[in-house]
Amino acid sequence: MKTLIRIVLKSAWHRRISLLFTILSIAISVCLLLGVDKIRKEAKSSFINTISQTDLIVGARGGPVNLLLYSVFRIGNATNNVTWESYEEIVALDEIAWSIPISLGDSHRGFRVMGTNTDYFEYYQYGQSQRLTFAEGIPFSEVYHAVIGRDVADALDYQLGDEIIVAHGLVSAEFAEHDDKPFTVTGVLAKTGTPVDRTVHVSLEGIEAIHVDWQGGTRSAFQLSAEQARNVDLQPKAITAFMVGLDNRINTFRLQRAITEYNEEPLMAIIPGATLAELWQTIVVFEQVLLVISGFVLIAGLLGMLTMLLSTLNERRREMAVLRAVGAHPYHILFLFVLETVFIVFLGYVIGMCLLYSLLVLTQPLLVAWYGINITITRPDAQQWFLFAVVLLLSVIVSLIPGLIAYRQSLQDGLAVKV
């Protein structure tokens, strides 16, 4: 046994170049499969954990998924606004415990700017009913104050007291900046692992103030200074959407219907959990296709290894005859192949896992920044260990093919090989 293991290792080392590439191809396919699985799970929990305890989100009528995406995930844009009158009328209803208005449309160096009020810091919840907390500073209390998410602070290296210039629209451009009305950072929120981390929060009045002298996306001829803008009536005329918490959840569906049937303007209310599930349903098909594809990539990797093993069979006949001559049984020959294959696949799998973890560490900040998916790096779960066992088992089965051929050859050849 010890002899065989030594033979396998030395023989493998002797053919290390071709084995290296086989191991790499398995490593890459394992990395892909585990990566897809990881992202799938993380995306799901990241999605589900983004918002909590909000009973309804109300916006202009349109696609429910779209409303969820722009209001919670800061992805995409609203097609229409909600007038301030409708907002005030609805949140005045008895069933409603709290509400958070949201006004979107501007950005700061790639991060979305969201206008809201201080209720946001009090009522918004994410994950398992966690509330927002301040890492530093305090909420905004003034027109030109801003509270930034953790990632904004980290990425742009902002401290309390720094000034922020908000760009009009979502693409940062020199000519469309509200550079005459800078905001001062008064607070930095603690890390949440949700899109909140990548948001610049200002008051609704702030949003109103920077747009006072703008018309249809460009500056109007009448410019107002920051101080002058303060004195204008900064009551917003419209907001993008608002979140609502109810006193009693039982009323959720009734209120949802009431908002949908609201006469003054076409509105829509979604239940975040239900729409999240709906969104997830549309993604799940894609994600399963991806998983199946990566499964096939892994099988292709194993088949590549099989090809490699089969192609070396003939050159190794002499080796097998020598081993037979010194007393190896054909079972030993079979075992040699099984051991070598398991060794290759084991190494490939381990390298694939290392590859995945280093990739995760490297891409984690980018994934959060670009796609809002927060990947927590955890140990492999039971499912992944199970996959490990399945792949090793598969490798044993694959190795039986060249193994049994070599077994038969060595029975036929005996000690004499005419190669």
Partner: protein, 231 residues
């Protein structure tokens, strides 16, 4: 001197799968202790087949292969492999060595498959080195990859491997056919010297009649093979 048979073949009949007639039929062949047997015959005369029977790779259709008082045909497949590992050493025509093992590891290889040889060899490193020195392998080559050795040196290393652990029988299948005459004589010299020292019986197959005179016993396969060759 009372003759103890080391090898005793009796009424051996063998045919390959799919053949309708016997390929090999040897009524009797005896090799006694202390003797060395030279087997001669042109290719196709059944040399390989005979060696396969002697080494327990194949079993005869009928008849008995007694080696060291053990009837090989009565052993299981694994039993015969173990018997070969314990009591036989084998030298091929060429490519005897595994390219990925060092010289010493190649020599020690049989000890990995046989507890008996391992016990006989004692200190495996010392024994391997002693054998290699006896077989005139320069020390400078010990750390070199096997492929750096000349064919003659490779064949002598194969002798060391066949002899390690004191097997009773050493089977050599045309081991000199790849050597020039100088190397051949030197090879034979050393092979005999070491085999004598260990009291191993040599079974030597070759078509080179010049070698035959060194042996105490010689058989011509075409003579002892009584099978009617079906054309």
């Amino acid at each position: 001197m009372s003759a103890t048979p080391i090898i005793h073949l009796k009424e051996i009949r063998f045919r390959w799968p799919g053949q309708s007639a016997d390929f090999l039929y040897i009524p009797e062949l005896i090799v006694n202790k202390g003797e060395h047997l030279f087997i001669q015959g042109p290719s196709g005369s059944g040399k390989t087949t005979l060696l396969n029977l002697l080494t327990g790779i194949n079993v005869p259709r009928s008849g008995s292969v007694m080696i060291l008082d053990t009837p090989l045909e009565k052993l299981t497949n694994i039993g015969r492999d173990r018997f070969r590992a314990d009591h036989l050493g084998v030298i091929f025509q060429q490519f005897n060595l595994l390219p990925y093992l060092s010289l010493v590891e190649n020599v020690q290889l049989p000890c990995g498959f046989s507890r008996r040889k391992r016990a006989n060899a004692g200190d495996m490193d010392a024994t391997a080195l002693r054998l290699l020195t006896h077989l005139s392998i320069p020390d400078a080559l010990l750390d070199q990859p096997v492929s750096k050795l000349s064919v003659g040196q490779q064949q002598r290393t194969a002798v060391a491997r066949a002899l390690i652990g004191n097997p009773e029988i050493v089977i050599a299948d045309e081991p000199t056919s790849a050597l020039d005459s100088d190397n051949r004589d030197r090879f034979l010299e050393l092979l005999f010297q070491e085999a004598e020292e260990q009291e191993s019986t040599l079974i030597f197959v070759s078509h080179d009649r010049q070698i035959a005179e060194r042996f105490t016993q010689m058989v011509d396969l075409t003579m002892i093979n009584q099978a009617e060759v079906a054309e």
